[in-house]
């Protein structure tokens, strides 16, 4: 599990780096070779969606989500665990909704074969499905963390 998360993080960061290369390529093509590309903007947005949400679980795993720790830091480790449990409940509740409705959107696009309204005509499905899949991955990771925290909360 840890390995999968680690590699998902590496993959996400390489996707961002790839975006950098193709955006640079676009500027070069436009100004030096005077032939702007049609695919760069769309592909980079597509990569950005995947990169961003792929990194979601990695950031949770590394406890990088931004939160206000003003009170949290003043508590004992027992109290912190209690607040962690509350956080987990919120994340589980919220991500489940995102997974469910995100899946509805992606499935509908798939069924009616909706495509991006641009020159490339990419199916909308392939980027929309990133939302439910990645939030599903997060949900899975948070549930594990939730169970672990509850276990150690009552043990101590």
């Amino acid at each position: 599990m840890d390995k999968i998360i680690k590699y998902s993080g590496y993959l996400a960061s390489w996707l961002f780096i790839t975006i950098g290369f193709i955006v640079f390529y676009e500027v070069i093509m436009r100004y030096i070779f005077n032939s702007p590309t049609i695919w760069v903007e769309e592909i980079s947005r597509f990569l950005q969606i995947w990169a961003t949400y792929l990194a979601l679980t990695y950031s949770f795993h590394k406890k990088d989500f931004i939160r206000i720790t003003f009170i949290y830091d003043k508590l004992s480790s027992h109290g912190q665990k209690f607040l962690d449990i509350i956080s987990h409940i919120f994340i589980i509740f919220f991500s489940s909704v995102v997974v469910y409705y995100g899946w509805i959107i992606a499935k509908e696009s798939f069924d009616v074969n909706r495509t991006s309204s641009s020159m490339l005509d990419l199916p909308a499905f392939i980027s929309e499905v990133a939302i439910p899949l990645c939030f599903g991955f997060l949900l899975f990771r948070v549930i594990i963390e939730f169970i672990n925290t509850i276990y150690s909360f009552f043990k101590s």
Partner: protein, 423 residues
Amino acid sequence: MTAILILFALFFILFLGVPIAITLGSISLFLMLMSDISPLMIPQTFYSVGDEFVLLSVPMFLMMSNILLKAGIGEDLFNFAQSWVGHYTGGLAIATVVSCAIFAAVSGSSVATAATISTVALPAMIQRGYHRNFTLGILAAGGTLGILIPPSIPMIVYAFVAEESVLSMFLAGIGPGIMLSIFFIIFAVIYVKFFNKEVQNVRSSKEERVINTKKGLPIIVMAVLMLGGLYAGIYTPTEAGGVGFMISLFYVVWKKRLDLKGFIDAGLDTMKTTVTVFIIIAGAKIFGKVISLYRIPQDISSFIVNNIDEKGMFILVVCITLLILGFIMETLSLILIMMPIFAISIKAMNIDIIWFGIIFTIMIECALITPPVGLNIYVLQSIGNANMSEIGKGVTPFVLIMLFAVLVIYFFPNIALYIPFKL
């Protein structure tokens, strides 16, 4: 009444330590369920935030800052500035501010700026007899120039939520950025002259100047390329980010300043910041839409318009709110939580949204250095092994200078607006 309840619930849940994005999203979700609005909007907003080409500038500029940070460019820059101004009274302090300002022009983040410059400037200043509190203060404050002098991540986010042009925000930041740097320098010189007389000034020889200028010059060229290209309209902010990322990468690889591990670390840092910021942007977007369906910003706006009839009063109230919240919250969350609430009031009061954005940015700079919560403070804690109270004492005069800068920009809006609109 509903407004108060919702805001209370928001801050209550935030203080429990629930991640900000999740808090904003969950409250919105709850409000949607209460009034039968379909939550389909939630995944849609996450999708549309990821699908935004303008926001792509965030990871691009972060990548550039992180690469330059990992490559230790701060040293070149600091030595360059020091060799030219080191012999004046307070020379190293001036060099610190100058190198922060130059690095700010290639970096969009205040943390990267503070970290880059602090690693070299902190030991150098302490060794030459600068007071520790003062040194910590000037480094923390100098780092915040990173977000006032373009490029700037908080400005991109501000422009995105305020639906304004990123380019105008960037250009509006140049004047105030230079002004604030000058204020810092003036204060540093006065402080050293009267309270810190024992410092040593360093005069560099001509040869040293030539060597250091050769090393520092590429960074200045990069800064000019970025800002010049943006100003001339050669590339969009996102493309400027991509170009900056590539140029800095070529530079550090060519000079053999960065190995593969450093590069991967830079990528990972970028990715982590990007995702945490993007989900808060999405959360704030959802929250903004839902509360306006409940007419909360409209109610707050009419309350403000009825009770505060003057622009100045309104700005004062906003600044005080931001200053207080700044003690316990950090930058982007401040923009993203407060902007949906204030946006309509700003329009109702007929306030220029770019000008307001600059004032907002300076207030956020205060938030970055006011303890206990402030990202720049954490940077100095780890680099300088400093404790909170040392830094707190050190930054106090600089916070006052920033508030003074807000006042100056309030009375002379052209400091911000001249470059984007009148030049």
